[in-house]
Amino acid sequence: MTSPEPESAPSEPLIASYLGGPARTGSRFTFWLGLVTLIGLAGVAVLGLLAAPADDVQGDSVRIIFVHVPSALGAYTALGVTALGSVMWLWRRSVWWDITAHAGAEVGVLLCGLMLVTGMLWGRPTWGTYWEWGDVRLVTALILFLVMVGYLSVRALGGDADSVATRAAVVGLVGGVNIPIVNRSVNWWANRTLHQQSSLTDGKLEDLTLFTLFLAFVVAAMAILWMMMHRFRIGWLERQLRARDLDDALAARRAEAGR
């Protein structure tokens, strides 16, 4: 006796034919990319937690840089993609850029949050405080985080896809333009930064620490690419589905009216 097909979820080919394209967000490339990323993450964890030496001054807390610095760079990159995508949507009406901007914002908010949390965890043992109002980068990053959370809440408003795209793009643009002013104002407001200057170029880092950090950069870049690709495809499928839903509903109504 053969077991019947489960009735609940429609099969993938069916969805694929409905959407006129693949119904999955994975591909052979993202599969291998994800696998290599996972192995790389394990490598960073082993090297960063066990192999890399503790810092002379900061002790074990220095290991946070393996998460903090890549996520900071990743956050600014992803949010830069969002700002660029916002301009391209408003200027060229590029749906590709609109979906990319959305993907960048989600990944960027995640990484920005990770950067803030790891920064605070590092700040407590090193500066003696979780939060330092006088630090320009900290406060700017927090404002950026809040602006981008607003961007995502505009994305979630619903309604016509093009009008949501325009609303969100303006928010992305306003955020992108105002962040330098936020930075400037905080800089004037309390110019007493505690922030680490870049330790990469002053040659104080051990070789293994440096290697681990660069591995962490590469792995973070792969992870971001992997997340962006999946998020982009979800966005694309959402758009397809919406367009199809409307087409189908119109066709049904017309058929009804013709009868």
Partner: protein, 231 residues
């Protein structure tokens, strides 16, 4: 010649929109009857929250005053958005043929006028309630004008972003308040100088406020039309 004519046309349209909004506000008495009492109420509540401690209140006066203005901005922009959301008013604005930038300037100007009225009431309010003393009136006035233009332009632009959305009342503060952070910082610092509580150079902060206002005015003038068309 044509540039001059274009400019006067632009100004005329902007004044038209601003006076329309202000006339509606005047007839509905919302600004007078709700925004002003709200602002005064916030001042009183801050007094309770800080335990009516005079030295603390005096030190915190500039910050409290601008927090209050920020809240009033949210309310005023929400009103300004609500005026355009019924009866397809925004469509009409688009169809009227005026430059969207002029419509934006008019909307922002109407909000700015209302905020200035609120500030004219709040500054004497903190002098009376918080025992503040004005040391430099020109600095206080210049700060009010520059900060108000910045808040009105950023507010009107983000107000247009959420216009026509059912959840606009809750989304607007999330968008507007973080972007207004530089205004809060700069205006508070400039007022601290103007009230003589902290020795800083207030005029350089006025410059930053003017920069914020200019950037958001230009941005609004450029993208307002796109928002009107698409949403």
């Amino acid at each position: 010649m044509t540039a001059w004519r274009g400019l006067s046309l632009f100004a005329g349209d902007a004044v038209l929109v601003a006076s329309k909004d202000l006339r509606i506000e005047w007839r509905a008495r919302t600004a007078l009857g709700q925004v002003l009492p709200f602002a005064v109420l916030v001042l009183v509540l801050f007094g309770f929250a800080l335990d009516a401690n005079r030295p603390t209140l005096r030190l915190a006066t500039p910050g409290l005053l601008w927090m209050t203005v920020l809240f009033a901005t949210v309310v005023a922009v929400q009103r300004s958005v609500a005026v355009e959301s019924t009866d397809g008013a925004r469509r009409m604005l688009l169809l009227s043929g005026m430059a969207p930038a002029a419509a934006f300037a008019g909307k922002a100007a109407a909000v700015a006028v209302q905020l200035l009225i609120v500030e004219v009431l709040l500054v004497p309010g903190v002098v009376l309630l918080y025992d503040a003393e004005i040391e430099s009136l020109p600095l206080v006035v210049a700060t009010c004008v520059a900060a108000t233009v910045g808040l009105a332009t950023a507010g009107s632009l983000l107000g247009a972003v959420v216009a026509g959305v059912r959840a606009h009342q809750t989304v607007l503060p999330i968008l507007l308040l973080p972007v207004s952070a530089p205004v809060l910082i700069a205006a508070t610092r400039a007022f601290a100088d103007g009230f003589g509580t902290v020795a800083v150079d207030g005029w350089s902060w006025v410059g930053l406020l003017a920069g914020f206002a200019a950037v958001n005015a230009v941005l609004g003038a450029v993208v307002y039309g796109l928002l009107l068309e698409d949403t």
